[in-house]
């Protein structure tokens, strides 16, 4: 017996797959890697787009599991917005390769790397090696935590949406302008709240906050991680405790996805306070959009500063 029957079955299956295509949607389908990009896209896209993020706000964006269920989201996307700078290196490229959507492949027109719009800090100057840590080889990818970058990214996304959907170009530009205005308003409030604490020294778990710290005048003097992506070591922790005591640093910022054991022990030895600050929209229910993210963080920070005097 020959194998033709098997091949006929396979051919029939392939044929069936061909006719199972999805229906086209009217709104632009936007998928983003993180909730922050989704929040910014939503601000400018309004009801002309449908936007969905892959990672949750309380997940470490460096380490997201590439679940097949995400493939279904990506498959119908018209536009994929990534944070870039290798933040999503461990999971997004694998999903994009696999999703079978030519529009959002790197180099295709539906792939938008939002880092091109933002001011990037901690760009490596010399040659890059593993000795500097593992997860920020192209500069700090946590750049959305500066409202100025938020404004620039929103503008960039609006321009991209306008290009993809020219009929609604004016709508997107209008919404971007409106967002900018509301952001400027909120900025005044945030700066006012943070004004008494400008120049304060803090330490953070991961290097998630350089843009935030610079914008609001905080001085991040140390990290619980010896290098980005490397878990705390006893020796580094001892050094950090010494430094915090010397410089009288009382605040330890920790992202919601890190274990609190080391930060708590550092706090108890330095008389400091651990603050679980959110790096992303959706990290807690209250932080449901880009504005509320800063509201939440600044509220938490200012009350922590008050408590440690």
């Amino acid at each position: 017996m020959k194998s033709y029957r098997t091949y006929a079955i396979i051919a029939a299956l392939m044929g069936a797959m061909l006719f199972a295509g999805p229906a086209e949607a009217k709104q632009l389908n936007v998928v983003t890697s993180t909730t922050d990009m989704a929040a910014l896209a939503q601000e400018v896209g309004g009801d002309k787009i449908k936007v969905e993020a892959i990672a949750r706000g309380y997940q470490d964006p460096h380490f997201v599991e590439a679940k097949p269920s995400f493939l279904l989201k990506l498959r119908n996307a018209d536009l994929l917005i990534a944070v870039g700078l290798d933040l999503e290196l461990g999971w997004l490229p694998a999903l994009v390769t696999q999703c079978g959507n030519g529009k959002i492949q790197p180099a295709a027109s539906g792939y938008l790397d939002a880092s091109q719009f933002a001011e990037i800090l901690e760009k490596p100057t010399g040659p890059v090696s593993r000795a500097q840590g593992d997860v920020h080889p192209l500069g700090n990818p946590h750049y959305w935590l500066d409202p100025d970058n938020g404004r620039r990214i929103a503008k960039g996304i609006a321009a991209k949406l306008a290009q993809m959907d020219p009929e609604n170009a004016a709508y997107f530009q209008q919404r971007a302008a409106d967002f900018e205005q509301r952001l400027a308003q909120a900025e005044k409030r945030w700066q006012q709240q943070m004004a008494p604490y400008r120049g304060r020294k803090v330490v953070s778990y991961h290097k998630s906050w350089p843009n935030f710290a610079r914008h609001f005048g905080l001085d991040v003097v140390g990290y619980v991680e010896p290098r980005p992506g490397i878990p705390p070591s006893p020796q580094h922790t001892m050094e950090l405790i010494g430094q915090m005591k010397r410089d009288n640093v009382k605040i330890i910022l920790v992202e919601p996805y890190f274990d609190l054991k080391t930060p708590n022990s550092i706090a108890s030895k330095t008389g400091g306070k651990v603050v679980v600050l959110l790096p992303s929209v959706g990290g807690e229910q209250q932080a449901s959009d880009y504005f509320k993210l800063f509201d939440y963080d600044i509220q938490l920070l200012t009350s922590a500063f008050q408590q440690v005097k």
Binding site: M1, K2, S3, T6, I10, L13, M14, M17, A20, R56, Y58, D60, H62, F63, V64, E65, A66, K67, P68, S69, F70, L71, L72, R75, L85, D86, E88, L89, G90, L92, P93, A94, L95, T97, Q98, C99, G100, G102, Q105, P106, A107, D113, S115, Q116, F117, A118, E119, I120, P124, P127, V128, R130, D134, V135, P137, R152, A159, G229, P231, Y257
Partner: protein, 413 residues
């Protein structure tokens, strides 16, 4: 470079063009924004120019990244909690593809009367080259340097922009039969491969062959992800299939269903069927049937610290041979738990008939402890007990050291 800058400048100018700023402060901010936009454009252009492909390359799954590539057409998945070796790519990659090397050293203690392993060995050193070819395809090549020679472990092109969400591959691939068969040695949660690989799925390295593959995902009910894959190969794979004439190709079909039970827990079930001609000639078929099931748990807020994965694979082999057709069955079931950021423990139970003599059954069990001193090295100990059909037992201790250099990794998922 000057050309790049000019282009960037021109692009930035056409892109910006906002209304005139009224105050000096506004003007400064405006200027700042323009410089930042320009810097961004230059970065993007540099990336395009130096990598021949824009945007981040699927080089390395960042450390602690669940290897378990849930997202796979070729799920190169290793236990969700197993460390993925590899790290960030360097910027110095210029026009080269991402290159990585993974070294694998294995020491074996104890006695095995049936399959004697060398006391110290470097079973394979894998060198990988990966790059996006163009907006429509990417290439992945894995060379395996053994102590005796070089082998093309895999080398294929993936077409990523086909119409109707199809994904196709051509080249040499590990065949999509079950889960473990698609996984490279260094992403396995064990030092060795389960008994079914040795007894039913082609021997030491499993099934891999030159051919093509076409795959498509579907949205099932309740957010379930369904996937169908059809593959056709030359028909030479391990000791399972061999080609006596050009028409002796082998064919493979795989169906997969994946569902999120909660945001931390998911279930992945697969059915595989393979058919080809065996070493007795064109008139002798070997057919393989497989069922695999994987349950994963990984709490999103503590994803880098704890995870759990349980997996079983069942394989039925139907081999036409003299004097009688052999119907053999085998399975393994395993579980792995991540205790802490750097520690994993797991166990595996094996049970498998032999494909050529189904009346002979081998059984075994393993206990595995894995430590991960950094993202780029892994130390593993495995205690293995095997009870061979001949009635003889083996108690062995396997020690493995894995290391990765370069922009490794990610096996295409």
């Amino acid at each position: 470079m000057i050309l790049l800058l000019c282009t960037a400048f021109a692009a930035a100018q056409t892109a910006a063009a906002p209304p005139p700023a009224p105050t000096a402060e506004d003007r400064i901010r405006e200027l700042e924004d323009r410089i930042i936009a320009l810097e961004g454009q230059v970065r993007m252009l540099q990336q395009q120019a130096t990598t021949s492909q824009p945007a981040a390359q699927p080089a390395a799954p960042a450390p602690a990244q669940p290897l378990e590539t849930v997202a796979a057409t070729q799920p190169s998945d290793a236990a969700a909690q197993q460390p993925q070796l590899g790290g960030a790519p360097s910027m110095a990659k210029a026009l080269n593809p991402d290159i990585a090397v993974i070294g694998n050293f294995v020491a074996t203690a104890g006695h095995n009367p049936i399959v004697e392993s060398p006391s110290l060995a470097v079973p394979e050193t894998e060198v990988s080259f990966q790059a996006v070819v163009d907006p429509y395809a990417r290439a992945d090549v894995y060379l395996s340097f053994g102590e005796e020679g070089v082998d093309l472990e895999e080398g294929y092109l993936t077409f990523t922009a086909l119409p109707r969400n199809f994904v196709a591959k051509v080249g040499k691939m590990r065949e999509y039969f079950g889960k473990v068969n698609t996984m490279h040695t260094h992403v396995l949660p064990w030092v060795d491969r389960p008994l079914i690989t040795e007894n039913l799925l082609g021997g030491e390295e499993g099934l891999s062959d030159a051919g093509f593959s076409i795959s498509r995902g579907f949205a099932g009910p309740k957010g379930i992800y369904l996937e169908a894959t059809g593959q056709m190969y030359r028909g030479d794979a391990g000791d399972v299939w061999s080609q006596s004439g050009k028409r002796d190709v082998s064919a493979l079909a795989h169906f997969r269903g994946y569902g999120d039970i909660t945001e931390s827990t998911n279930l992945d079930i697969g059915f595989s069927y393979g058919r080809g001609h065996n070493d007795l000639g064109s008139d002798f078929l070997t057919q393989l049937y497989g069922v695999d099931a994987t349950l994963r748990w990984k709490p999103l807020r503590r994803a880098i610290y704890h995870s759990f994965l349980a997996r079983s694979e069942f394989v039925w082999s139907d081999r036409q041979q003299f004097p009688a057709r052999q119907r053999a069955f085998g399975f393994f079931t395993s579980a792995d738990y991540q205790l802490a950021r750097r520690w994993w423990m797991g166990g595996r139970f094996d049970w498998s008939d032999r494909a050529r003599a189904a009346a002979l059954t081998d059984k075994g069990g393993s206990f595995v402890l894995t430590y991960w001193p950094s993202e780029f090295a892994q130390i593993r100990g495995q205690y293995r007990y095997t009870n061979y059909a001949e009635g003889r037992n083996a108690n062995e201790l396997l020690m493995q050291v894995l290391f990765a250099i370069g922009a490794h990794g990610a096996h295409p998922f």
